[in-house]
Every structure is written in structure tokens, then in C-alpha cells.
């Protein structure tokens, strides 16, 4: 009898706690793993400021797209922009949040500063350049002591946005790559070995003499990995620096990009780092719960602001150009509607 009382009381208080949490209307999002660190950092800072929490599940871009198409989350996140027809069919608004970049890492046994180019990387990953002292690499690195060492290309085994950006770059730099392999979150790699995640690629490169791999810049920066310089489309040798990433973001053709899917890969800017890409949020244009949708927009509105930028910068992500942010805000106000009424106004 007593036990039942206690149980009842416990159930009551439990229920109260639950309904209290529900009242705060946490936002639920899922998708891309590449921006997950910044989304989670934003969520923590935002919760402290407003009391509204954000649960972000980093399940991969494909999973994020699936979940938002089925409307099981408030927003989805994807590294590769979703196809225009799929966006239309699922009635989704797509907008970019932050910009990230991919860098090439190498292990030549000793510390040799190395410059590579898109066509050379494409040939390496096709198994056409097999030695580090190949004439084509030597030509870009005059004076450097290149070892007579077999090249071991390492790629991401799990399908990922990083692979999408990297293969997009190879496809842009090499027609041969474009027609034979192509660009996607995972491709049929002609040669090399696959490792799981950024940490897997970095670990394999570190363990294998002669290996070359690619990782997200945030990962390389945090772990102080040896990166290479690249020759960009303008023919200039560029270093992987935030300044050069921003140059790429500035050089992208945002004005003509449908659904904000502007390509920042291999842009023409003189200082532009060639492997740069934005990561995207997918938001229903016809939300069933207008208040919840407004909360999502409020969150990203805050994230675009100075406080959000500071968090992103600390984690080595790059903020969007202001002109793009203004366009996104216009899209929020004009395209996300519940019962014909905009859920958010600027």
C-alpha cells in the first residue's frame, strides 16, 4: 500500500519534470557529422542564454536528409547540398550555416614541405602517379628532396561529406577523374586503402610511410597534422589558412546559386584555397508546428550573429559572408510559412 503511494508520487513528480522539460520546447536536429562540433557548441551557449536547448544527433548527411523528409526532426543537416528536385518534392528550405575546408595530409617519413595540385592528386588517387619522386611532383617542388617512396593513397571508408568535397575537387581539376570516378559521399576508389572517419585517415597516414590522405581542416588544425600546399585554379600556390578559405567563400558565385548551393570548390580567386564547402540546414517550408519552426530559425539567427561567429571561429569554422546571411534571412521570412503566415520575421 505504502509502496503504491510512493510509486504514485514518484510517477507524478516524474511526469511533472517531464512536462516541465517539454514546456521549454527543445529543438531536435539530425544529420551531418562535419558541423556537429559547432552545432553542439552553439547549442550549449544558446541554452545558457535563452534556456532553449538543441539536441543535435550527428548521424550523417544521408540520415539527416531521411529524417527531415519524414519530418521526425525539426531540422535536418547535410554537408552536400540536396538536389533541387528532392528539395522541392520534400518542400524543404535549404540554407548554409558555416564553411569548412578539406586539406591534404602526407607522411614522407621526414618533414618535407610539399606542394600538390588537383590534377596530381587525381592521378595519385587513380594510381597513375605511384612514387613521391615522380617528375610531375618534382616540377612543383623544385629544390625539395623527394624520397623514392611508393605513394599510398588513403581515403575515408565511411561515406562522408568530406569525401564529397574532396572528390568534387578532383572531378573539377581532372576531366579523367570526373568521367571515370566522379564525385559523391563515397565512390569506387581505383586504388588505395580506406579508413573510418577523420581519425582513421589521420592515423593510417601517420602509420604508413608514403601515405597521402585528406581530412577536414578543423581536424588537422586540432591535431597539428602536416598539411600540403595546393596550386589553385588561378595557378597560385596557396596555404591552408583561414584567410585563404574566406577568399574561396568570397569568390563563390552566391548570386546565381539555386537553394544556396554555391560551389566553393576550385574557385577562381587568386588567394582561394581550392577545397572549401558550406554545410547546410534543411528546414520544412510548411511546418506543422509553427512555434517550433520559429525556434529553429531564432537559433540560427543567433548563430549567424557575433556570439555564434565567435564560437565557430574558436573551432576553426568559417562564418558565411554577410551578403549570404542577409539572403538566408530573407528566405526565412518569405518561404517558411504555416497556414500561409510567415513563422518568423526579420
Amino acid at each position: 500500500m505504502k509502496f503504491a503511494h510512493i510509486l504514485g508520487a514518484a510517477a507524478l513528480s516524474f511526469g511533472a519534470a517531464f512536462s516541465g522539460a517539454a514546456f521549454a520546447a527543445d529543438i531536435n536536429g539530425a544529420g551531418a557529422s562535419f558541423p556537429a562540433p559547432v552545432y553542439q557548441a552553439w547549442a550549449a551557449a544558446y541554452k545558457e542564454k535563452t534556456g532553449t536547448g538543441l539536441n543535435y544527433q550527428s548521424i550523417g548527411s544521408g540520415g539527416g536528409q531521411n529524417q527531415i523528409v519524414n519530418r521526425t526532426v525539426d531540422f535536418g543537416a547535410s554537408d552536400a547540398p540536396m538536389a533541387d528536385d528532392k528539395l522541392e518534392k520534400a518542400n524543404l528550405l535549404q540554407f548554409p550555416t558555416v564553411i569548412g575546408s578539406v586539406v591534404a595530409i602526407v607522411n614522407l617519413g621526414e618533414d618535407v614541405p610539399l606542394t600538390l595540385s588537383g590534377p596530381i592528386l587525381a592521378e595519385i588517387y587513380q594510381g597513375k602517379i605511384t612514387k613521391w619522386n615522380d617528375a610531375k611532383i618534382a616540377e612543383l617542388n623544385k629544390g625539395a628532396k623527394l624520397p623514392d617512396l611508393a605513394i599510398v593513397p588513403v581515403y575515408r571508408s565511411d561515406s562522408s561529406g568530406t569525401s564529397f568535397v574532396f572528390t568534387s575537387y578532383l572531378a573539377s581539376a581532372s576531366a579523367d577523374w570526373k568521367s571515370n570516378v566522379g564525385a559523391a559521399t563515397s565512390v569506387q576508389w581505383p586504388t588505395g586503402a580506406g579508413a573510418k572517419g577523420n581519425e582513421g585517415v589521420a592515423g593510417t597516414v601517420k602509420n604508413t610511410k608514403g601515405a597521402v590522405g585528406y581530412v577536414e581542416f578543423i581536424y588537422a588544425a586540432a591535431n597539428k597534422l602536416a598539411t600540403t600546399d595546393l596550386v589553385n585554379k588561378a595557378g597560385k600556390v596557396v596555404k591552408p589558412t583561414v584567410h585563404n578559405f574566406m577568399a574561396a567563400a568570397g569568390a563563390a558565385d552566391w548570386a546565381h546559386a539555386k537553394n544556396f548551393a554555391a560551389s566553393m570548390v576550385d574557385t577562381a580567386g587568386e588567394e582561394a584555397w581550392p577545397i572549401v564547402s558550406a554545410t547546410y540546414i534543411l528546414l520544412p517550408k510548411n511546418p506543422t508546428n509553427a512555434a517550433q519552426s520559429a525556434e529553429v530559425i531564432k537559433f540560427f539567427d543567433w548563430a549567424y550573429g557575433p556570439e555564434g561567429d565567435a564560437v565557430a571561429e574558436k573551432l576553426h569554422y568559417i562564418a558565411l559572408p554577410n551578403t549570404v546571411v542577409e539572403e538566408v534571412k530573407k528566405a526565412w521570412a518569405s518561404e517558411v510559412k504555416a497556414d500561409g503566415k510567415a513563422v518568423w520575421t526579420n
Partner: protein
């Protein structure tokens, strides 16, 4: 005080309630047990049906050649299971070949040679090996075993055995560390405890009289092992090996870390490859609903199910038939 009081009250309540509920509770209990049994059957059936149904479009698209086609190209959406089926079987067979003699040795040592005080610690250690989570084997394999193999095992083997015709094909390629052989070795460690435990059981079931008679006519330890113990439990031992094979086939995380994940066919032990389970783990997060890729992955899952089922059914059959 309060707790004991209510405890006694409850016990009294139970005592008085026992008689009437006995007649009612028994059928309920039996019903529940039936439910549990049926539940497993239904669950298994639903999983198989889901995998088959989900993967059917891929089978329709690519035809029966899906089973052996070696193309896996997510860009052009051409898929085939050939490389993964081969990798799954190849890595599992390596695992069994490595684990078999080790398990034999450990099991015979434990049952015949080991002095009493040593028997328990070694037995427990083997069992603890089974408790190591798969991901730990993967990380250990990736950070410790792969570099060791790449530096000390592969370069000499490639140099010495690579040029030999026929066998040489097994030892080709750059010394990556990650590949079929490494995956097989890690898998061997993972199935070792299960195979060893079953071997111990089989060896212990050998009637002492048989062994004593053999010793009595002057047989050595090896001769008793070779001519009495092993023949007595041969069929059950083969079953145990099949059970190990079954476990190795479906292992996912550890294999994904060390197999090198390349969807290319190669006969070399050192070449990176892929198994069905590792491919599903790698590709699943980016497979969108309704895509051919997801259907191909589900079909792969179904194929793995069928392979494992056949192997496990065989092992059950062999373990049961004694002698």
C-alpha cells in the same frame, strides 16, 4: 523497520494468496512462455522478411548477377555483392585457419597438461577475451597491430614470397598494414574463446577410461591426443569451428577498422578489402530512403543472413552428432 514490516506483510499476503492463484497463474505462466517462444520466431521472421523485401528492388535492378558482380560504384549507382561476399568468406576463413591450431593447443593444454592451479587463470583469461568489446579489438588492431604488420611482417613476406609463382599472388601489394590478413588475425582472436571453450567441452567429454587405456598401453601424450581425444570428438570439433566461422562472418566494427575498406577484388592477403558487414557500417549513414544504394545494402544484409544461417545450421548439426 518499516521495510521489514511491509516485507513480512507482503510474505503473509503471498502465503494466503498462493492457493487461489495457483490454478489461474499456471495457465498464464505457460501462456507467457509460449509467447516468449513465438516472439523469437516472429521477430526473426520479420527481420528476414524486412531485409529481403527492402533489398528486392536492388535484386530486380541488377538481376541475379548482383550476387557475384564486383562493381560497387555509388556514383553511377551500379552495385554488386561479389567483392563483399568474397571478403567476408576470405577473412573468416583466415580467422579459422589461425584460430584452429591455437584453440586446439589451449584446449588440450587446459584439459591434459595444465597443473591444477594454472588451469583456472588461463581458462578465465580465455573467457575474458570473449568479453573484450569488438570496438576495442578494432582500436587495438588499428593502432597497434596494423603498424606492426606494416613494418615487420609485410615487407619481408612481400620480398621473399611475392616473386614465387602462384603462391606469390597472396603476397602482393604495398605494405599497408590494413588488409585481409590483419582482419583475419583480429577475427581469429575474437573467435578464439568460443572455439576453445567448445573444444574444452568436447575433450572433457572423452571418457577417461579410453585415455587411461591408451596411456596404459604406453601411448605418449601426443599419441593419446592424436589417436584418442581428437577422433572421439572430431565431428563436434568441426561443428565448433563452423560456429567460430559463423561468428567471424558477421563481425563488423573490428573488421571495419583493419580491413582497409576497398571495394576491389584481390587475391592478395595484404590487399585492402571489404566484408558485407563493414560495407553496411560504412555506407549506411549516407544511404537515403528509397535510393538504390540503401536497397543494395539491405540485399547485402540478406545475403549475410543466408550465409550465416547456412554455416550455423551446419555447425548445430555437427555439434549434436557425437562420435
Amino acid at each position: 523497520m518499516d521495510a521489514t514490516l511491509s516485507g513480512t506483510q507482503a510474505a503473509q499476503g503471498l502465503a494466503t494468496a498462493r492457493k487461489p492463484t495457483g490454478r489461474v497463474s499456471d495457465p498464464i505462466f505457460v501462456g507467457l512462455l509460449w509467447g516468449c517462444g513465438i516472439f523469437v520466431l516472429v521477430l526473426l521472421g520479420l527481420i528476414i522478411a524486412m531485409l529481403f523485401e527492402g533489398g528486392l528492388p536492388a535484386l530486380r535492378e541488377f538481376g541475379i548477377s548482383f550476387l557475384w558482380s564486383t562493381t560497387w560504384n555509388p556514383v553511377t549507382e551500379r552495385f554488386g555483392a561479389g567483392v563483399m561476399v568474397f571478403g567476408t568468406v576470405f577473412s573468416a576463413v583466415i580467422a579459422v585457419i589461425v584460430a584452429l591450431p591455437l584453440s586446439f593447443g589451449i584446449a588440450f593444454f587446459l584439459t591434459e597438461i595444465a597443473p591444477g592451479p594454472l588451469r583456472r587463470p588461463i581458462g578465465v583469461a580465455v573467457q575474458l577475451l570473449a568479453a573484450v568489446p569488438s570496438i576495442i579489438f578494432g582500436m587495438w588492431g588499428f593502432f597497434v597491430v596494423v603498424p606492426l604488420i606494416a613494418t615487420y611482417v609485410q615487407p619481408p613476406l612481400i620480398e621473399w614470397l611475392g616473386p614465387i609463382p602462384l603462391i606469390g599472388a597472396l603476397f602482393q601489394g604495398p605494405p599497408l598494414g590494413a588488409g585481409m590478413l590483419t582482419a583475419g588475425l583480429i577475427l581469429a582472436l575474437m573467435i578464439l574463446p568460443f572455439v576453445t571453450a567448445m573444444f574444452v567441452e568436447v575433450l572433457e567429454s572423452v571418457p577417461p577410461m579410453l585415455k587411461e587405456s591408451a596411456y596404459g598401453v604406453g601411448a605418449t601424450t601426443y599419441e593419446v591426443y592424436r589417436n584418442v581425444s581428437v577422433p572421439y570428438g572430431r565431428t563436434a570439433m568441426v561443428g565448433a569451428v563452423m560456429l567460430g566461422l559463423g561468428r567471424a562472418l558477421g563481425e563488423t566494427m573490428a573488421v571495419t577498422f583493419v580491413i582497409g575498406n576497398a571495394t576491389r577484388m584481390s587475391a592478395s592477403l595484404f590487399a585492402p578489402g571489404a566484408t558485407i558487414a563493414s560495407t553496411i557500417a560504412n555506407e549506411f549513414p549516407e544511404a537515403s530512403i528509397g535510393s538504390l544504394k540503401l536497397q543494395a545494402l539491405l540485399q547485402l544484409g540478406f545475403i549475410l543472413f543466408v550465409i550465416s544461417f547456412i554455416v550455423l545450421a551446419l555447425s548445430r548439426m555437427l555439434v549434436r552428432t557425437k562420435g
